[in-house]
């Protein structure tokens, strides 16, 4: 499920929606699109190198993923390009994806990693209520960042 309007803000929600709260990335991306149709979203199970092309076309970027081991309901932190050894073959970390994008396309969008605390990662398509509440708080913060960024662009 992808939108590609070529606008400046891209939200990449990733995770496996068949593993309950691991579907938080998709949930948040869809919620944001429902409130602001001018943004682009990409919904993926994991990040691959071909995303560089999509990333090279945006100016403000959010990676949204569920988190297993954090205490906070959500964490938003700015990330910059960073090379590191990939843990998995087919999965590339957001900061490494930025590094590859910069190397290949000479583009470096302002980027944030949004990690949202999840509680249940067992088989199932339902997101827990607590995870949804965490997501709503993260969504408000993402909207705030977008608004400030747009104001600065004027």
């Amino acid at each position: 499920m992808e939108a590609s309007k070529g606008t400046s803000i891209l939200v990449i929600g990733y995770g496996n929606p068949a593993r309950s709260d691991d579907g938080l990335g998709e949930y948040v991306a869809q919620r944001l699109l429902s409130e602001d149709t001018s943004i682009d979203i990409l919904i993926l199970q994991e990040l691959g190198p071909e995303l560089c092309e999509d990333i090279s076309g945006c100016e403000l970027l959010f990676f949204v993923d569920a988190s297993i081991d954090q205490e906070e309901p959500f964490i938003i932190r700015e990330i910059t390009p960073r090379y590191k050894t990939p843990i998995f073959s087919h999965h590339i970390s957001p900061d490494m994806l930025l590094a590859i994008t910069e190397e290949l396309y000479n583009k470096r969008p302002k980027a944030y990693l949004v990690s949202i605390k999840g509680y249940n990662f067992d088989f199932g398509f339902e997101i827990t209520e607590m995870a949804k509440q965490n997501s709503e708080r993260a969504i408000e913060k993402i909207k705030e960042i977008c608004m400030n960024w747009r104001l600065q662009k004027r």
């Binding site: 199970q45 297993i68 843990i87 290949l104």
Partner: protein, 475 residues
Amino acid sequence: MTQKITIQPVTRIEGHARITIYVNDDGKVDRAYFHVDQFRGFEKFSEGRMHYEMPIITPRICGICPVSHHLASAKACDAIISADIPRPAKLLRELMHMGQVIQSHSMHFFELAGPDLIFGWDADPKIRNVVGIVEANPELALKAVRLRKFGQEIIAKLAGRKIHPNYAVPGGVNNTLSVKDRDEILKETDTMISYIQEGISLAKDWIEKNKETVEEFGVLSTGYMGLVTDEGGLELYDGKVKLIDKDGNLLELFEGSKYLDYIGEHVEDWSYLKFPFYKKLGWPNGVYRVGPLARLNVAEKIDTPLAQEEFKNFKSINGGKPVEGSLYYHYARLIEDLFAVERAKELLLDPDILSEDIVVTTGRILPEGVGVIEAPRGTLIHHYWVNEKGAIVKANLIVATGHNNWAMSKGVEEVAKRYVDGKNLTEGMLNRVEGLIRCYDPCLSCSTHAVGKMPMVIDIVSSSTGEVIGSVKRD
């Protein structure tokens, strides 16, 4: 005292796995195991769902080859409703499958196998990865990105999304292909062929320069299994299942729906992944391999011209007999990649691909159905049993990586014995062991990918005391 070296999880493969190497007092490897820790619960998860939901549910098994699960599932559903799907629907499904093969095979060679081949087994792991390739050869990296994207665009143009497609339905597909989309894919095919040919040159050059390694690394005597056309050619979407022995002699040629007559599954208490084998030869004599190397070993030809030329070269490696070296998987994978783009071009040029005759309905519900397809990593089997309303009462999935389970475990042991010195352990030694696994490009799990989930740890443990002698963590 025996030491135990554990590599967990194996880098640059998909899923949760560990390698344990037992080393004796002299530093020599006694034995080694390839464990799969992730329990796959999708079969149970599917029970009670309607059969027509399965092509949507099962792609969630994997974010890497969702199309293969999607199509194998749809084929099983075709059998349940007893549908002979229209030719245009077959063409469209096969086109989607070619997109999957192109994106998966291209990524594997250029980004996963490539680092070992380009930088060498002993190179610094900080550069021996996709980022190293980007820095060393950005032009090649960009081509790899474009190849993968090309495959994914085929999928997206048909299904409206790159992963977790909702396209194939019981009886056919749910969307036609527009002239505009056909032409957009078509115009890229020749460029993509040239990119893959560049990869083939790179692989052949590496094989030539490393002949000794290639001929001794993970060489296993097994049977081989894969789908073939009626004329014995390479087949990825349909066809019959062909099984040959280690010398290339035909063992069986059967309809995929009869797989239970030929394939058994062995269980070991140290792995969640079962070990399939050929029933008539029993366990472990009946072990076989699947995937690119196996498919080229069982095929007698390839029906596209450029891939056929490479296929002749492949067949000459062992004088027409099966090629056994695990590293040849990389070469075979690229030949299939070439075939997939050529085949996609053929499909796009077929006038029926634009037809609106894309689905049939029957109103029938048979008690069971089997779908078999050649996923990028090998033969994928979906088998569903349903009640009179069409709800799943039982599901059996044999994934490609399962067929190769024995080969990966045995290969790990052979490579460890050949290259690992427990008294002078180097990262390059362990990378060779991981490299054996990467030949098979396994996809092991329906794992989550949440932040903070996956460290890479290599533990060296004394098996007699349980003491951790050394530990390496990769971030």
